[in-house]
């Protein structure tokens, strides 16, 4: 496997991007899960689909878009979607969750129209929906690197504010923290990670890489920092095993990565159950 990675550029791109996404998706995912925003990640991934499909359609009909990486319009749609979700959440203060189905269905609706208009990119589309080992270009890799730098800088600079905001948003606002701005930036960064992760995991499965490793970590960790660390470990393990399996068995990496993360979650749940039984036995 190492020989193949050293030989083929497409594998270097896929593993490079995968390893980075294995860190940033669960890292941001911890804050998404504890803030109960998991469904927003799903809505944004579907908006990204609309951007990607729009870009693929425009590349066929407008010369200027022919060479444009579809990821750029995907990122633009995702960031735009995050801004719209916030706008809708403030508009429907008592029904904030309404923003999610509205944006999610808008994303699928526009995506379906662009896919119908553009013919002949079913292979590309399959890769965007479920991820692809072979389709990650060097440009895609650099985009993922740039997104990772933005995400890491954001988390490092605003870690304590994000922690307080996630734990108790009313307290964060009452203590004078810029909660509104930190939340807004958090949504933008989330949109960037979703768009960046899509090449490897696929639009339909991207939110699972942000949530399943976190779900496993939360069962066994004893602190917030440990939750972050374990989420990244589980995320990386899922990406590495999933990409190797996808390459060897010619499968969509989104599927293999997510199934690996589910297996890890089941192992953690089993471990936790045994640990609790042993502890109870020891007490009795």
């Amino acid at each position: 496997m190492i020989d193949a990675i050293l030989t083929y550029e497409f594998l270097q791109n896929a593993f490079g991007a995968g390893l980075i996404i294995g860190v940033i998706a669960p890292l941001l995912g911890v804050f998404i899960v504890v803030r109960r925003l998991s469904l927003i990640a799903d809505a944004l991934s579907h908006v990204t689909l609309a951007g990607i499909a729009g870009s693929l359609y425009l590349s066929q009909s407008v010369a200027a878009f022919a060479t444009l990486n579809p990821l750029f319009l995907g990122i633009a749609a995702s960031v735009g979607g995050s801004v719209l979700i916030e706008r809708l959440r403030s508009l429907y203060k008592h029904y904030e969750e309404l923003a999610i189905p509205i944006i999610l269905s808008a994303g699928i609706g526009f995506g379906a129209i662009f896919i119908s208009l553009a013919q002949g990119f079913s292979n590309d589309l399959f890769g965007y929906l479920f991820g692809s080992v072979s389709a990650v270009s060097r440009e895609d890799l650099w985009i993922v690197v740039a997104i990772a730098i933005v995400v890491m800088a954001f988390i490092v600079l605003f870690f304590k504010e994000l922690f307080v905001l996630s734990f108790d948003d009313e307290y964060a606002r009452a203590s004078g923290l810029p909660a509104k701005w930190v939340h807004f930036m958090f949504m933008i960064v989330t949109a960037l990670v979703i768009a960046g992760s899509m090449r490897i995991v696929g639009i339909l499965l991207v939110s699972s890489l942000m949530t399943i490793p976190v779900a496993a970590a939360m069962r066994v960790s004893k602190s917030f920092k440990q939750t972050i660390l374990l989420s990244i470990v589980f995320g990386e393990a899922s990406v590495i095993v999933g990409l190797i399996a996808a390459f060897h068995f010619n499968l969509a990496p989104g599927g293999t990565i997510v199934v690996t993360s589910i297996l890890l979650l089941l192992l953690v749940l089993l471990y936790k159950k045994i640990a609790v039984s042993v502890k109870r036995g020891a007490i009795a």
Binding site: V34, L157, K160, S166, Y171, P178
Partner: protein, 254 residues
Amino acid sequence: MDAPLIEIKDISFDYEETKALDNISMKVEKGDFLAILGPNGSGKSTLLKIMLGLIKPTKGSIKLFGMDSKNFKNREWIGYVSQKSNSFNSGFPATVEEVVAGGLAKKAGLFHRLPKTVDEDVNEALTAVGMEKFLKRSISELSGGQQQRVFIARALVSKPKMLILDEPTVGIDHQNVQAFYDMLASLNREKDITLVMVTHDVDTVTDRISHVACLNQTIHFHGFKEQFQTLSDEERASWYGHSVRKIHHAGGGH
């Protein structure tokens, strides 16, 4: 003479068509332990939120530590303890130590790490509320009363001059409510922290406080607790909206 810590002047607040607060004026002086009493829907929590700058009044002005609240930057001087059930994410995977250290976020400032003294500060705050042994425990494993003590430690860790508490005993069993108020009273006496608290526990709290404000859309009474204790049942019922009786305990409290 020091400026009042809170000075509210002619404040009104409307929730869409409904008037929640009507022309409220009051002062909280340094060292006060003020209990704000009133029936459900009387505007108590709204008044606290205005004090904290969480919502803006429809009319009127508020000064904090002698400064217009819009220009008041030293938010770390004010510690806030909310109703636990309202805002706390109960399954949150964090230790008591992490939660209390979060209280230093504002004091440390944007783009700055928490101070090097964070461990000592957290220990000191937890000791003040009798929770120092729970440092490494998960916050979600604690009882309601223990969690509320941790939230007071989080408010205390930035060494505030004033604590604002919104029904802090919600979710605490009756047995522990007395001990909880004793702890607040000792913070007021020994650490000279001014306390403003919304509560329904009129009988339990009266022994510990210095002042009472009775609110039902407007201020019906604001003064020393001794004056409040002389009010007749009829006077209390007139602003409370239904019959309120003084209950005499064996210990002499009301």
